[in-house]
Each structure stands twice: as C-alpha cells, then as structure tokens.
Symmetry: C2
Subunit: 143 residues, 2 copies
DNA sequence: TATTGTTATACTCTATAACTATA
DNA sequence: TATAGTTATAGAGTATAACAATA
C-alpha cells in the first residue's frame, strides 16, 4: 500500500464524516431522517424483506433496524405483514406513501446538496458519480 | 439542473451516510472517535485557534465543540491556554501527544478503509482522491 | 437448541436554550 | 449591551445483552 493510499483513506474518512454531519443537520425539518431514507431506498430497490434482512443489507444490528422500521411504520411509510410460512418472521414492505415520499426525496429534496452540485462543472459531477459507485460497492460487500 | 444531478444528490447522500455508519462502527476500540479526529486534523492543518473558530471551521455549534475539546483535553491530545488579550477567549492547540496520534492515525489506522482501497485499481483511487477534494471544498465553504 | 425479532439500557454526536464572565 | 464559552437538557442513531416466540 502506498503512502498516498493511506492518506486517501484518512482524507476520505474525514470528508465523508463531515459531509454526513452537514446532510443530517440540514434535514431537521424533513419528513424522514437520512437513516430512515436509507432504509426506504433499500426497500424500494430490493423489494420487501424481513427486518433481519434489511438490517443485514443496511449493515446495522437487528435492534437498530427494529427502531427504524417501527418509526417508518408509525409514519405509514412501510407496512409489516406476517411471513407466510415462518411465524417468527415478518415482512416489511414499502407502502404507497413510502413510495411517493421516496420519489419526492429523490427528485426534489436534498436542496443544499443540489445547490452545491449546481456549482460544479460536468467533470466534477462525473467524478462524484464514479465515487458514488465505488463507495456503494465498498459498503455493499458482504463481510 | 438535470435529472441526473438530482439523482446524484440523492445517491451521494445515501452513499456517504452509509459509509460514515461503517467508519464510525469500526472505530469502537480506537483511541479517538472520527469526530475527535476531525477536530484534531483541523487543528493540525490550520494551527491553534479558539473553540469558537474551531466550531465554525468544523461546521458545528459551539456547545458541540465544547464537548469535543473537553474530551480531547482530558485525553491530553489538546491544550487550552488563555487568550493573550481577551479574557473571554481561550486558545486550543494540539499537544505533542495529539500530533503523534494524528500521525499514527493518518499512516496506520483506518484499517478497514485501507483494505477496501487496496482492492481498487489506480483509476478508482484517482477518482476517490478527486471526490475528496470536491467534497472538502463543498463542506469548507463559508455559509 | 437455534433463530427471529423485540425490549431494556447505554453511549456518542449534535442541537437549542439558558447561564457566566468578560469586553 | 454584545460576545465567547460553558452548562443543562433533549433527541437521533447505534450498540450489546437479555428476553419471548417460533422453528
């Protein structure tokens, strides 16, 4: 591993932590938090699944996902239904409200981030898009 | 603004939130948290400053920085000294322990991230380096 | 006995509001 | 009166440990 790669690991860590701080702070009046939005997005992309599977997919522990799912169910954004054959499990699915909210978020929210991106040139946008793909692959890998 | 830019805003938000979750979770046995490390890195790069200036630079509210600085001082990683002319202010500076820890972190920690980066090709590393610069500029802008 | 999900509990990070000391 | 910093308090996000229900 090169010195540059090690420095990149450190710099990338600080950059994403600071960016996350911004993003979370700017959503205080949003309908759902980024944690909730992340779970909704996974349900949208991968379909209904059990809380355990969603926890694994989001890379959090099951009790953490219990709380997220409970809050989303209370908001009517997901629905919980019994598993057809295994009484221990339940199936979490996106409700129509959840789908609608997700569409709104994807297309119109993230105002601050949208503004930042508007100030960038197309080369920078291409770079960020590529970075998103790399990071997504990184955090999606099974352990 | 294009549809692609809006989708990028959404995807980038989710990617960095998920990556941050990973990074924080993997530091439970580290000497300092990412929040503390971020403050140390700013002190290292920009020199000693008041808690207020550090809060502004890190884009957090002053009470949040009070806690971070207090925890770092308790660990002996920063020192607090009186402002030469203004009795209300104090100056926070990196201690030699703080500098040493920062050097260690930069060069040897972030083990998980280092491992992920080791699996990437040089083109991806260049992309991530560029993305770090773009994100850093984004979160460093005065409001 | 093993697995799934939940409850109980605790810690970190961050915020706003109120307070103290100094300018 | 205004500013810098701290204290008090609260809420979100996450974790581990212990529990209940079902397989």
């Amino acid at each position: 591993m090169t010195t540059e790669t090690r420095a990149l690991a450190s710099d990338l860590s600080l950059a994403v932590v600071r960016l996350t701080r911004h993003l979370r702070g700017r959503r205080v009046d949003a309908q759902v938090s980024l944690t909730q939005l992340s779970a909704l997005a996974t349900l949208d992309q991968e379909g209904a699944m059990t809380p355990g599977a969603l926890a694994a997919r989001e890379k959090v522990q099951p009790p953490s996902m219990t709380r997220v799912v409970a809050s989303l169910a209370e908001l009517g954004l997901v629905e919980r239904s019994p598993h057809p054959t295994d009484g221990r499990q339940i199936i979490v699915s996106l409700s129509s409200s959840g789908q609608a909210l997700l569409a709104d978020e994807t297309h119109a929210r993230e105002a601050w981030m949208n503004e930042q991106l508007s100030g960038l040139g197309s080369a920078d946008l291409v770079t960020l898009r590529s970075a998103v793909e790399i990071i997504t692959a990184m955090v999606s890998k099974p352990e």
